[in-house]
């Protein structure tokens, strides 16, 4: 048995502190779909800590194989094309962690998530972070940061946005922002509603809990 607090459990890895924050927001024994589940770290964490009935969708075959070998129910597939095959209200919670920015049509992905799940948890990197803004302002080049490490021509993150951009899209899609946690330098801050202007400047990541209105 792996200690749930250990790194081996996929817990509290420096770069993925959002995983524990997401896990804390999932109801025990609920049915959960994790889109872009990677090697299954979050699903395993949720199974262990929350006893959920979890399913995963992952683009990379190596990720899927690792998940299934770990005993997780994960299929190879693409968030842009495969969500339409899932039934309405099939899940209590649908999670998209650090994946939205890599999809072709983020608004369609969110719309599908809202159809499939009663509750959505979405974590995104914040492109409105002051260091990103400063980098572009002073250097006149696309920022490469700790969270966004690839150059513009090779990054998988093709649809980056700020926390404010994201909540604006939620309004368009008629999704209610139930709560939001911002992260800066690994420190989490709970916000009741939407992120403030200050949070949009200081946070490097945001974790949103959404509901259909």
């Amino acid at each position: 048995m792996i200690d749930p607090k250990s790194k081996a459990a996929g817990n509290l890895d420096g770069d993925r502190i959002d995983l524990q924050l997401i896990a804390d927001r999932v109801a025990p024994n609920s049915k959960v779909l994790d889109i872009g589940c990677g090697d299954g770290a979050l699903l395993e964490l949720l199974a262990r800590q929350r006893g959920i009935d979890g399913r995963g969708l992952e683009l990379s075959q190596s990720g899927v194989n690792k998940c299934v070998a770990r005993g997780l129910s994960v299929v190879q597939g693409n968030a842009d094309t495969d969500l339409s095959y899932y039934p309405d209200n099939g899940f209590d919670t649908v999670i998209l962690s650090q994946t939205l920015q890599a999809t072709q049509r983020p608004h369609d992905v969110l719309r599908e998530m809202a159809r499939i799940g009663k509750r959505l948890i979405v974590s995104i990197p914040n492109f409105g972070h002051w260091r990103v803004r400063l980098d572009l302002l002073l250097n006149g080049r696309m920022p490469v940061t700790g969270a966004l490490t690839a150059s513009w021509y090779e990054t998988a993150n093709i649809h980056l946005c700020t926390l404010k951009d994201f909540t604006t899209l939620c309004d368009v899609l008629d999704l209610q922002v139930e709560s939001c946690i911002t992260l800066s330098n690994g420190k989490a801050r709970r916000l009741k509603g939407r992120p403030t202007r200050r949070a949009n400047l200081l946070a490097d990541q945001g974790v949103f809990v959404l509901r259909r209105n």
């Binding site: 075959q61 299929v75 495969d82």
Partner: protein, 381 residues
Amino acid sequence: MSAIKVDGDEGQTVRLERAALQLDCGATLDHVELAYRTYGTLNKDKSNAILICHALTGDQHPAGINPLTDKEGWWTQVVGPGSIIDTDKYFVICSNVLGGCGGSTGPQSDKPDGSGPYGLDFPVITIADMVRAQNLLIDHLGIETLFCVLGGSMGGMQVLQWAAAHGERVFSAVPIATSARHSSQNIAFHEVGRQAILADADFEGGRYFDSGNRPRKGLAVARMAAHITYLSEAALQRKFGRNLQDRDEVTYGFDADFQIESYLRHQGMSFVERFDANSYLYITRAMDYFDIAAENGGNLAAAFKDSETRFCVMSFTSDWLFPTSESITLVRALNAAGANVSFVEIESDKGHDAFLLDEPEMHATLSGFLASAAAARGLAS
């Protein structure tokens, strides 16, 4: 249905007797026998039974020694004591399919009226009929729910049929390198094989047993054509290339100049020693007729509605007989049905036959899946 009797020991090839079976074609088989083999021990709760379904030319001997050929079973890579399908832990059952030539009722069986073997008088059977017969076997063994049903290729079709028709008896299902319906291209290859058999003068309208001849050439050609579909272009190239067979230059004739020709001829000739031509016709036909969606108004997801079975679907990148796209269609339908499904595509250049070979990633996936299913089933590790 009258009582079924076992007249063999555990680990031996034994027979079921006297079970009537209503077939899809409308006919009834009054006296069905299934040759099967078991490995390991059924636990007290009868919760550790695994049914392995064999492919087109397989048999009931996945592990151990096949008593007919004295060779190792066809899936010793996966099944055995301490192996992935651990016969020290699980009670493993494998039966020769209905229509087969490994001891189960088929075209070589004697007709009930005493007029000799059926030959082409044997009714055309389907994958569903094969599974109906297996279902009786599981009844006979006193097992209510199978912990897992698994198999590759035609074995995978049986797995899907089990999950669709008798889902309440299937705790987990592993369909490998298979499809929920046989494709047009695959029907085409089967038709070539069947026509080769039917064109052989020694076929004698399927009554070759009367003369003691056998349609060896036709069956060998059928096997040669089919064998190509089990491999991949890359694997053939790697193994044989354009290498010549026991000669330094081509002979400007139709002898087996190339190694690949010699290999295929060998495959064909050795196959006729172990397989019956009529069975080949019947079993390929059963595969051709397989289409689970068609039985559910064209809706594949409907076949698995409310399924509580845990599925693990696997395909191989170089399998062009049952390509990954077939598995994806299946997985999407299972997702639409809200089923619990895992799907892995294994990187391999060995073609369709990869599922029978040493594929570490497939073995790791199967291990992980079985371990988690066993935990969910409350089977101690």
